[in-house]
């Protein structure tokens, strides 16, 4: 008999020969094997943001890819890096996902230089989602600051696709300047077809002085919140959360019906690298979507 220790070949595990399915979290899979995807369109939105339409190349992987509004993917450009990006398209769109990306650093900067046809990798979807199922029968307040509108597009599409399930939907959107308002070209459709109430405000209206000038909380003067029957979703820069959520609490909205989406540094999306640690947990696993009660219990979350 030999004293060779028996070799265990992980590749022979049945689940390892299948396409990774990040929705089946407990299964052994190739966690670093991204879905090869083609950038099929790149739409410049502002000087700093572009919208990328990304289509998973393999038909089988494309078919299996399913996400819920609020979740994110890890987008990889081999040799350059990998970044977490919220999905900004309809969860019923099986053909491609839309990612709206701001140019801020190494990877996002390189992404902005790409041409349609480039192959990138995506892993995911990861993280928690907005509780669309719990919101059924309620009014919804969607509150966005700046880039915060990006993750809210997905629930907006969802609401439209299930319009009779929900009551009044109000979108409150604040930006620095009129030129930084994203997806303004869609507002008309969202108002007329989706039946959304859209309120925008800019900090500095500039020369034209069109629209309202001020900060996002000023918009609360224009609406009545039925606190017994409303859910709120807040996305934006960290400073915004505090003010907006304080305002919502004052109007009587329970903290468990207020949701925020947090941002942290991320290197895995799977609760392994610890970089997205917030309080006692990880943003990539228990977030990015948290209810406000949880946020209050997580140290230094906002």
């Amino acid at each position: 008999m030999s004293l060779k220790i028996p070799r265990y070949d992980i590749n022979l595990e049945p689940s390892m020969s299948k396409h990774p399915d990040f929705n089946r979290k407990s299964i052994l899979m190739h966690t670093q094997s991204g879905f090869k995807s083609e950038i099929i369109a790149i739409v410049p939105l502002t000087a700093h943001e572009k919208l990328f339409h990304i289509r998973i190349c393999d038909p089988c992987e494309r078919e299996n890819f399913a996400f819920l509004p609020g979740q994110f993917v890890m987008l990889e450009l081999p040799g350059c890096g990998e970044v977490p990006i919220s999905i900004s398209s309809s969860s019923s769109n099986k053909e491609f996902i839309a990612l709206c990306i701001r140019k801020v650093g190494k990877v996002t900067g390189m992404l902005h230089r790409l041409k349609p046809g480039t192959i990138v990798g995506i892993r995911g979807p990861f993280g928690t989602h907005f509780p669309m199922e719990k919101m059924v029968g309620h009014n919804i307040l969607l509150i966005a600051g700046g880039l915060g509108i990006v993750p809210l597009r997905s629930p907006i599409y969802w609401v439209n696709e299930h319009r009779s399930d929900y009551g009044d939907i109000t979108v409150m959107y604040g930006a620095k300047e009129p030129g930084q308002i994203l997806f303004g070209y869609q507002f008309e459709e969202w108002r007329r077809i989706y039946g959304l109430n859209i309120l925008t405000i800019v900090q500095n209206a500039g020369k034209g002085r069109q629209g309202k000038e001020g900060i996002i909380t000023d918009l609360f003067d224009d609406i009545d919140i039925d606190s017994d029957n409303t859910f709120a979703v807040v996305c934006g820069p960290p400073v915004m959360f505090k003010f907006v959520c304080a305002h919502l609490s004052k109007s009587g909205l329970p903290r468990q019906r207020m949701f925020v989406s947090l941002e942290r540094r991320m290197h895995c999306g799977m609760g392994k690298c610890c970089r997205c640690n917030v309080g006692s947990t990880f943003t990539c696993l228990d977030g990015p979507v948290f209810d406000y009660w949880t946020v209050m219990n997580l140290k230094e979350a906002i």
């Binding site: 220790i5 265990y8 350059c80 990998e82 801020v104």
Partner: protein, 347 residues
């Protein structure tokens, strides 16, 4: 669990035979410290003589045979039509001899994160399943507080665990592979006397723990004393060097870097172990740092170990080996920080 005894001579033969056909890792003396004491590390053994059965504590932990400091997660072949990804898992068998109970318990904790909860990590999993672990009992050092952490004994997570009971080793056997190997070297059934000797050694070990740390109240204390000046006191001393996490048997956080070669034909995605004490641990694009101060980062290292991990897995992450305390140039150790914290709470 099954038990056997094996004589010292037969143990030597067994290790030598294992070395002939496998990679065998064990504690080796690598250097001398300023007091002239040996510094140990877990390294590949070339002969039985290199194996230091009486080693005190390895400077860094054997976790790196499961979580290497650097590891290529994927290699990319870049070409006109895009790229192809190549992933390899380490699947060659390996033996590690001489792991302490605390280090085995540390592995069990890593198992919780890497193998048993969400997204099992195939890189870790492959290494773990291909490693035969032979544990070894020892008498605690002055500063070991693994008993306070409930990590001073191991009941699983190893293949074989040896306790020196005089002329023989008393062996706890946890896998068929280990059972087969042991039997080839004339292992004997345990006698009443062996069992008596074993219990005596065990209670001697137990009686020698000098350092105690109170942890039962810690999860709550971490929140109550979140703003405590204790964090500032020790944080101001912290050099943010990250040595504590590098030597720790349970720290697992990491970063990712991607490299491309000069002719754009190959790229690699590399994982490297990191530390939450390092300055840019929580820095995001645009330069915002969620933890800009050393005391905040130090606090979160403890917060994860004694609060976050308890919430997730009902146990602390720390196993009480005090490697971090030994490695720290600023004299920061869990014992002093936690004692301080408990002291403040009393005031």
């Amino acid at each position: 669990m099954l038990f056997k005894t094996i004589t010292r001579e037969n143990f030597k033969k067994m290790v030598e035979a294992l070395m002939e056909e496998n990679e065998v890792i064990g504690p080796k003396a690598r250097d001398l410290d300023t007091e002239g004491k040996k510094i140990y590390r877990f390294l590949k053994l070339n002969s039985f003589e290199e194996l230091e059965m009486d080693y005190t504590r390895s400077y860094s932990s054997p976790k790196n045979y499961f979580l290497p400091f650097k590891e290529d997660l994927a290699v990319y072949d870049l070409h006109d039509k895009g790229w192809d990804q190549d992933i390899h898992y380490t699947i060659h068998p390996r033996v590690i001899i001489g792991m302490r109970a605390c280090d085995i318990n540390a592995l069990l904790k890593l198992d919780q994160v890497m193998a048993k909860s969400v997204y099992p990590d195939p890189y870790y999993f492959a290494r773990r399943r291909n490693t035969l672990i032979i544990g070894l009992d020892h008498e605690p050092l002055e500063d070991c507080f693994c008993r306070s952490m409930n990590a001073d004994t191991a009941f699983h997570g190893f293949d074989l665990f040896l306790t020196d009971i005089g002329k023989d080793y008393f062996a706890a056997i946890n896998s068929d592979t280990a059972y087969m190997i042991l039997n080839r070297f004339d292992a004997k059934d345990v006698t009443k006397e062996d069992q008596f000797l074993y219990k005596k050694v065990k209670s001697r070990i137990e009686s020698k723990f000098k350092t105690q740390v109170t942890i039962t109240i810690l999860p709550e204390l971490m929140d109550l004393e979140f703003e405590s000046e204790v964090w500032k006191k020790w944080g101001d001393k912290c050099l943010s060097c990250g040595s504590c996490a590098m030597v720790c048997p349970t720290c697992y956080c990491y970063g990712i870097e991607e490299d491309i070669d000069l002719d754009f034909s190959m790229a690699v995605k590399r994982k490297f172990l990191y530390s939450c004490n390092l300055l840019d641990f929580a820095t995001v694009a645009g330069g915002h740092n969620f933890r800009p101060r050393a005391d905040v980062r130090l606090k979160y290292r403890y917060y994860h170990q004694f609060r976050g991990f308890v919430e997730a897995f009902n146990q602390s992450l720390c196993v009480g080996c005090n490697r971090c305390g030994k490695a720290c140039l600023a004299g920061i150790s869990p014992k002093v920080v936690i004692d301080d914290l408990i002291e403040t709470e009393k005031r």
